[in-house]
Every structure is written in structure tokens, then in C-alpha cells.
């Protein structure tokens, strides 16, 4: 039986083109066939999770039923009552499968959990977001079918971008007018072609051609201070380029396909390498993830800390929450020392960045600001980010401990 990584090879794109054609004609004539959309969703889900990967498919089905039960149950409960502890228990239950998947390799010598499947993180983010907005009362008309479409929307199921329930629902329940839809198709096709360039040419060059060579050279040049060597520096930039082109390329496929289906899935990258500071970097890199963390962890924790007056100064509140926020992000990547260090590094970087921004605001007259400082800021930020990706890559783990 056929089985694919999403957007993995030309056959996948050929099938995608054929499957989307009737849907496009429908949208051009102002019609959205729910039935057809559901059928092609199931078709592509079977391609991704069926055949040799059927155990993942089973895990996905059980997981989805579990999250539907939780979110639906909570939505029904919330119409009548609003208890804090009950809400926390529900959120913990919703995160439980993901937690098990993430912790299992750390305690079982690298073995992956049986309940894991491609995309479990991204589905958990969507389910938890739905629950939190239900709690806030901003999401009042939870609907199981819409929730299923939202969770199982095949273009973004495996690695995002992470859409929001209400935003998705608004697109899903309407049909763009012809002029708008033609614009979306044009954009969608352009995104997919830029994605080809990123993923199949640039990421292939950096990740498949160059990176293994640099890794070998780095491993052979061990012995110096902290096993550092020029190949390690080369690997750092090469890995960063691969990470960016691979993930930005995938995201362009996912967004482009969504657009062609008349759904404006949010963008995941916005020229991250021109960020003048780390704070801005997180507004431009893996945007839907960092905004998810901003809205559902950072802002909520800050809100809670300030309401309960846990810290005297707002800056302390902000700093503590930055560290917690980025540590959670680190743990989410996986329970290994290098992911957690990566999170901590970014937490500290945000604290330092904020302190500097406050200083700059206060001493506006004495801090120079010109084209040179702007370029320097961009250069410094890009290099800090690449260094953090070197930690993230796990190469240091190989250099030092293997």
C-alpha cells in the first residue's frame, strides 16, 4: 500500500493536485462541498498514517476520540459551571498523551511511545487552545464536527502551522468570493513553488549534502577546548540553514495547500533572519508556535502572577515568565539536556533583551541608533540564534558524550 510523508515526494504533490482540482472548481463557483473535503482529508490521512504505519493510525484515532470527549465534555460543562480546578484537571488530561509521548524516550532508553504519532504535538496545541477559549467564554458554540475538521485538516496535521478554532471555523463556514479566491490560489501556488526551492533544493543541499560531511569533520577534530573546531562552526551555520529551509519549506506547502482549499492558515515564518533582536525573532520564527506559547502560556501566567501579586515588580514577573515559557518550549521539544538548555538559553536571551530595550528607552539620547547599529543588531541576533540551534542540534551531545 502507498504510504507517504506529507509533501515528501512528487507523487504526493501529483495526487494533491488531482484531489484539489474538483474542490477548486467548486470554490470558484461559490460552493464548498463538506463531503468532498472530508473524503480527500480521509484519503490523505490514510496515505500518511496507513499501510506500514498503521499503528500510528490507530494511535491517531484513539487520540482524536479522547480529545473530542474532553473538549466536548468541557464545553457542555462550561455552559452551566465554571470551576477553576476542574478546568486545570481537564487541561492536564488533554496534555497527558503528549507528555507520555515526550517523556517515554527519556526513561525508556530512546524508545518511542506506542501512543505517539506524527503530529501529536500540533493536535494537542489545537485541543488545549479550544479548551482555554471555552473556559474564557470567547468560544461559545463548540461543535464536534467543526472540531474534527479543525483537528484533522490534513494540510497542517503533521507539523502545523497551528491555526485557531474560531479563525478556522470562520473560513471553513464561508466561501471566499471569486476575486478573493483567485488571489488565494495564486498565492497558494507561489508558496508551494517557493517551498520546492526551500525544501527540495536548499534544505537538501545543506541538510543532506553538506551536514553529514561537516559532522564527520567535527567529530574527527575533537580534542581542543570543549571539542570546538572550525567544522563545528560550519556545522552550526549549515544546521541553521537546513532547519530554516526545511521547516519554512514544509510550512509553505501547508499554507499554500490551505489557501487552495479556501482556508487562510496563518504563516509560520516572516523573514526571521532580519530580526534586530531575539524578541522580534520570535515574532518571525515558527510564528504560530511562538504565538501559541505567548497567548496560552506567557500571557496567562503573567496575568495570574500579577492578579495574585506574586512578584512586586512587573519586570520580575515578565522575566520569571520568560524563563518558564521558554523552558516549557524546551521540554516540549523533548526531554534531553540540549533541548532544555536551548529553552533556557532563549529564556535568558529574552530577559537580557528586555533589560537592554528598557535601558535604551530610558537613555534614548545617549544610545546611538544608525544604520551601522541596525546591521550590527541583525548580525548579532542571527549569530545568537545560530548558536542556540547548535545547542538544539544535539551535535554537542555527540561531541562530548559519545
Amino acid at each position: 500500500m502507498l504510504s507517504f510523508e506529507p509533501y515528501g515526494n512528487p507523487t504526493y504533490f501529483a495526487l494533491l493536485g488531482v484531489a484539489l482540482l474538483p474542490l477548486m472548481i467548486g470554490l470558484l463557483y461559490g460552493k464548498r462541498s463538506r463531503l468532498y473535503e472530508t473524503l480527500i482529508s480521509i484519503f490523505f490521512l490514510v496515505l500518511t498514517f496507513g499501510g506500514p504505519k498503521w499503528t500510528q493510525g490507530v494511535a491517531l484515532i484513539i487520540y482524536i476520540l479522547y480529545e473530542v470527549a474532553l473538549t466536548w465534555g468541557y464545553a457542555v460543562y462550561r455552559r452551566h459551571k465554571n470551576s477553576g480546578p476542574f478546568f486545570y484537571v481537564m487541561v492536564i488530561l488533554a496534555i497527558l498523551p503528549l507528555t507520555i509521548v515526550k517523556v517515554t524516550p527519556a526513561v525508556e532508553n530512546g524508545q518511542s511511545s506506542l501512543i505517539g504519532f506524527l503530529g501529536v504535538s500540533y493536535l494537542t496545541f489545537r485541543a488545549v487552545q479550544t479548551m482555554m477559549e471555552t473556559r474564557d467564554g470567547t468560544l461559545k458554540d463548540y461543535n464536534i464536527m467543526t472540531f474534527l475538521q479543525f483537528m484533522l485538516f490534513f494540510p497542517t496535521i503533521s507539523s502545523g502551522p497551528i491555526d485557531r478554532y474560531r479563525r478556522f471555523e470562520a473560513d471553513y463556514r464561508s466561501v471566499p468570493d471569486r476575486e478573493k479566491y483567485l488571489g488565494m490560489v495564486q498565492k497558494g501556488i507561489r508558496y508551494i513553488f517557493v517551498g520546492f526551492l526551500y525544501k527540495f533544493i536548499l534544505a537538501y543541499y545543506f541538510g543532506t549534502m553538506l551536514m553529514p560531511k561537516l559532522q564527520l569533520m567535527a567529530m574527527n577534530s575533537r580534542g581542543g577546548f570543549l571539542d570546538m573546531s572550525w567544522p563545528v562552526i560550519g556545522y552550526m551555520y549549515c544546521y541553521s540553514a537546513d532547519l530554516f529551509f526545511d521547516f519554512a519549506g514544509y510550512s509553505l506547502f501547508a499554507v499554500g495547500t490551505s489557501y487552495i482549499m479556501g482556508i487562510e492558515t496563518p504563516m509560520n515564518f516572516n523573514q526571521p533572519w532580519r530580526s534586530p533582536n531575539i524578541k522580534d525573532f520570535w515574532n518571525r520564527w515558527h510564528i504560530t508556535l511562538s504565538f501559541w506559547f505567548r497567548d496560552f502560556i506567557y500571557m496567562r501566567l503573567v496575568f495570574w502572577f500579577m492578579k495574585h501579586k506574586v512578584f512586586k515588580k512587573p519586570t520580575t514577573t515578565a522575566n520569571v515568565t520568560y524563563i518558564i515559557n521558554m523552558l516549557v518550549m524546551g521540554f516540549w521539544h523533548g526531554v534531553t539536556w540540549y533541548y532544555i538548555t536551548y529553552g533556557l538559553f532563549h529564556g535568558v536571551a529574552l530577559v537580557v533583551n528586555d533589560t537592554w530595550l528598557r535601558y535604551k528607552k530610558k537613555h534614548r539620547a545617549s544610545v546611538p541608533h544608525n544604520r551601522f547599529t541596525q546591521w550590527f543588531a541583525i548580525f548579532l541576533t542571527a549569530n545568537m540564534v545560530c548558536f542556540s540551534f547548535l545547542i538544539f542540534s544535539g551535535l554537542l551531545d555527540k561531541l562530548w558524550f559519545q
Partner: protein, 77 residues
């Protein structure tokens, strides 16, 4: 005190700038506001005007200029 004046007072307190002369400037782009400032704004609105805004109601693009914030608060008050 009317809503507009109160909101502007909260904003100038939070940003350290008088924003009344730039009612359509994007506060996030200029770095005057960030997530932290947003939460402080929500808490101040609650304590000074009794306007309750849950965090998930805070769609950044709807709250990014002084004019938009005033209009939002007026619609919720």
C-alpha cells in the same frame, strides 16, 4: 472621567509616553507595548473601568493603536 481619558492615562502610564498625539500609531511596532504591557493593560481596565477582557479576547491586531484600544473598550464598557 470618560473612557477615552482613562484609557489614555493607563497607556501613558504603561508606555511612559504620551500617546494622545499619535492615536493611530502601532504601539507594538514602535516597541511601546508588548505581551507584558498587554496584560497590564487588561488588568488596569478591569480595576479602573470594571471592563473584563479575558486573555483570549485579546487579538493583537484589534488592540494595536490607541484609537483601536479606545474603541474596543467603549464597545465593551
Amino acid at each position: 472621567m470618560d473612557i477615552k481619558a482613562t484609557v489614555l492615562a493607563i497607556l501613558s502610564d504603561l508606555t511612559g509616553n504620551d500617546v494622545s498625539g499619535a492615536m493611530d500609531d502601532n504601539l507594538f511596532d514602535s516597541g511601546l507595548m508588548d505581551s507584558m504591557g498587554s496584560v497590564q493593560l487588561l488588568l488596569q481596565l478591569q480595576s479602573e473601568l470594571g471592563v473584563n477582557v479575558p486573555v483570549s479576547e485579546f487579538e493583537r491586531s484589534e488592540w494595536d493603536t490607541p484609537n483601536k484600544i479606545v474603541a474596543k473598550v467603549e464597545s465593551l464598557a
